[in-house]
Symmetry: none
Subunit: 523 residues, 2 copies
């Protein structure tokens, strides 16, 4: 069994646009534990109070699978471990494991740490020995190991031996700057194994876009632990991506990493962490991206059903992903029937699917795209249901943007809709014309449908389809809406950006009322 | 010299959210040629009319470095090459190179192509032989090569030999499904080289997050060509990323790929292609991401200044990137001074460059991006010239979109500007609010500046920068304008899409009058 060591909560948060609260960190840690990750590095208690609080809460939690680790550096060059604040913080975190980082490279010892090579060996050995004497298991992170080895192999091995003498359980070779090639990593791990009998780990960064290859190459040479982050989050170009490493190990290399039956939860975990980190999930990630198994076209889909493995390197369900049958003008009736089933829509007869397919094709010819707007597809079906009643009916809308000398720019919109035989006529100002329309429409609906208040426009994308015609080109608008239950996507298109936005807005709100909150109908 | 073969314009556009116009493709091709890319695959002429038009335009263009290649498959299983529409389309593309894809894997021959193993060898050999007899150089793409080799090594070698007999110049081993590990790629390339004496290439996909490692591993074993895309764009998880492969080869493996002095333009190319594809540049890309050399924290920065190489695997300037913490005012100023010279703008003193640099920074913080909007940068300089007089001055504008029962949707705009001390107040209807504003503004100017009539808005792109805020997010608008002399690009940004569009429109028309048609000033 390969030990998976997750550092999303420490190294992952070094990414410039991630900031996690203590609750966020606890929530992610619980999910990592559920998946069966062996080690969870919770933070650097010596560096900030948020991490101290995390460890206080983690100490009161029962973990099913994971061992919690606190991260810190060796003691200061001029100190003993027992008088070092950073080492004290590690002990106060009260974790079963401490991960200690130390210097490997002569360059870093002399130019950055500015101490002697011998004293560096002393602080490595003594820091680890002190922590083990206090009952902690210690993982040693050999910073800049590969660069250090290239500069001075003998000294870099000495630093590992010092950690071993101190009692470290595992020696982790860090590819800190991310500059090594996979064959260099293999070769250096091989040489270390010849010179040292100790359990080794690998910690890689993605600066040469080789972090995954470097990690699995090291494991192939006999490392037993791999450190990385969910979705490869991390400073600069990121850390080694566990969402690629785990399936590569399990599915390609026959190495176990997780408890039985857990691999299929990887997709959900990846998206959960992106959500909590407030980052858009990268659709194109290996294994766990939404587009990782996306196939277009009806003929292609038919061929896929015959010989799946001819177009997929693994079965997507193994990691909880699925083959994305993209509904587009290229799809056949079969795609739509299965899409309707997926959403629990009962087709009265197959001709309804044909009708929707025809509409999809007509609208796509006008510039709509349903690939990323499933809620709009569902609404096409819904509106065909015999007893379906739209929650509101449009009479008029208007949006204007004015720039007036002395006042500057402003946007205003009015909406007139029929709701339950009542005319609602509202107005609102906004940051722009679409924002103003959105606010006016909500005003018109919220009395009858209080659920509208919970819908939140979480993404708004505009694409100009036929650049040739400049500002009279066709515009496609995609809207993502969210509430506490669900996220859904809708589309609109036309030469007029406001009209296109309006269509997507209407689908978004109608879907929310008809599918997400059906109970709110007619309140 | 390793041959870099770019397929951004063909395989790259398979990514679900990329759609390039013919002009976009020509613009990208010119930039690839400027960089010194050896081969540019322009598209699949047999599959769509857009690609046919691209090749017509490419045939009339003089290329400095690149050989243009058209992509297509072997002839149909039941046909001769000279009676096959797809092969005919390849010839009609009139490119010096044709790239022909054929089946390697017994699984695909029998289950997907549904023909005999022998007939597959026939169509590979004959298709290539026919194209070479017509004076084309042929590159052979062996689809699913690695999967095919794993199933039946002998047959997969036979397919390569058939291509060799047909006269193919290079045999490209394709890792089509992206499922192989780097050591498998190395081992299989090694075995192919033992059995075959031919120039080999590698074409990899990123489904296991190993496309870069697989590509460079194959090149290390002696392949002489690598196929990939800018930024790794491509179907599913993308193609092998040339923006990582090129610097890995040049800086880590000592292999030449580009003409001298070109590597430092890689950063700009990466961002240019993202702009044209209307995708947010991925900040975390290796080498070319904006955060690739970003360092947090003051101490870190101080250490960096002492010993740069201790924290960076390469010097970011080698690829045209920069360390993010250091606000490089000097190099920034230098860039702007040469940009001004390029456009024949005489700076009265260097402080003007500093002033423009400051404005650029302020505007970029608000969401502007000047990378693909040089005309807007030029206008920043122009407006600082002592005797520069703007061709018009804004007083008011208003744009509205209305949907009224019985009439449907319509857009109207009014513009009030001062031209030569005369107030021009005009109105126009349009397909949408921006189109209406554009038309009203032209009406207001055309009497004084007849040249305005020749300007044609040829592209209009909208990007939402901060999706998280829904319709109140920041919007960036890029406008491309064209006349018989020149094409130029301008930018606007703000939370209001109409205001952002207006800014870009004003820059577009002002640049046209001040730089493209300076004689028309004050007519």
């Amino acid at each position: 069994m390969i030990q998976i060591y997750d550092t999303t909560l420490r190294d992952g948060t070094q990414r410039k646009d991630i900031s996690l609260s203590v609750s966020d960190k606890m929530n992610i840690a619980r999910r990592l534990d559920d998946l069966g990750i062996a080690f969870i590095e919770g933070g650097w208690p010596g560096s900030n109070p948020k991490d101290v609080e995390f460890f206080q809460r983690a100490a009161k939690t029962t973990w099913k699978n994971a061992k919690i680790a606190a991260f810190g550096s060796t003691c200061a060059a001029n100190k003993q471990p027992d008088e070092d604040a950073n080492i004290r913080a590690l002990l106060e975190a009260e974790t079963p494991y401490c991960t200690v980082v130390g210097k490997t490279s002569v360059l870093h010892v002399t130019d950055v740490l500015r101490t002697s090579l011998d004293n560096n060996l002393r602080i490595i050995e003594q820091s680890i020995a002190y922590l083990t004497s206090q009952g902690r298991s210690v993982i040693y992170d050999a910073e800049h190991f590969f660069d250090g080895f290239k500069l001075d192999p003998a000294y870099s091995i000495e630093t590992l031996k010092a950690a071993q003498r101190g009692g470290a359980e595992t020696l982790v070779l860090c590819e800190t700057n991310g500059g090594s090639m996979p064959w260099e990593v293999s070769e250096i791990v091989r040489q270390v194994k010849e010179k040292l009998d100790a359990p080794l780990g690998i910690h890689a960064h993605n600066d040469s876009e080789c972090a995954v290859a470097n990690s699995i190459s090291a494991l192939r040479e006999g490392c037993i632990q791999v450190q990385g982050t969910i979705n490869g989050y991390g400073e600069r170009c990121g850390n080694a991506n566990l969402c690629s490493i785990i399936p590569n190990l399990e599915l390609k290399m026959g190495l176990k990493t997780l408890p039985d039956g857990q691999l299929k939860n990887l997709f959900d975990l990846s998206h959960y962490v992106a959500e909590v980190a407030n980052l858009s999930p990268d659709e194109h990630l290996a294994y766990v991206g939404r587009a990782a198994f996306a196939h277009k076209g009806g003929i292609h889909v038919a061929a896929m059903r015959r010989t799946t493995r001819s177009y997929q390197h693994v079965d997507p369900e193994l990691v909880g992903n699925r083959m994305e049958v993209i509904v587009s003008e290229l799809s056949g009736k079969g795609n739509l029937v299965s899409k309707a089933e997926e959403y629990g829509i009962t087709l009265e007869n197959e001709s309804q699917a044909v009708e929707v397919l025809q509409t999809v094709k007509q609208l796509e010819a006008k510039g709509f795209s349903f690939e990323a707007a499933e809620a709009s597809v569902v609404m096409l079906f819904k509106r065909l249901e015999k007893n379906y009643k739209a929650p509101f009916e449009l009479i008029d809308f208007a949006a204007e943007v004015e720039h007036r000398r002395g006042r500057g720019i402003f946007s205003e919109a009015t909406v007139k809709v029929m709701v339950d035989d009542q005319v609602m006529h509202t107005a609102a100002e906004g940051n722009g014309p679409v924002n103003a329309l959105d606010l006016a429409l909500r005003k018109a609906l919220v009395t009858h449908y209080p659920a509208v208040d919970s819908f939140h426009l979480s993404d708004y994308k505009v694409r100009i389809l036929d650049g040739k015609n400049g500002t009279s080109a066709t515009t496609r608008v995609l809207i993502e809406t969210k509430n506490e239950i669900k996220t859904w996507n809708t589309v609109g298109a036309g030469t007029n950006i406001i009209e296109a936005s309006w269509q997507a807005l209407v689908d978004s709100i109608e879907y929310g009322l008809a599918v997400v909150h059906p109970a709110s109908q007619g309140v």
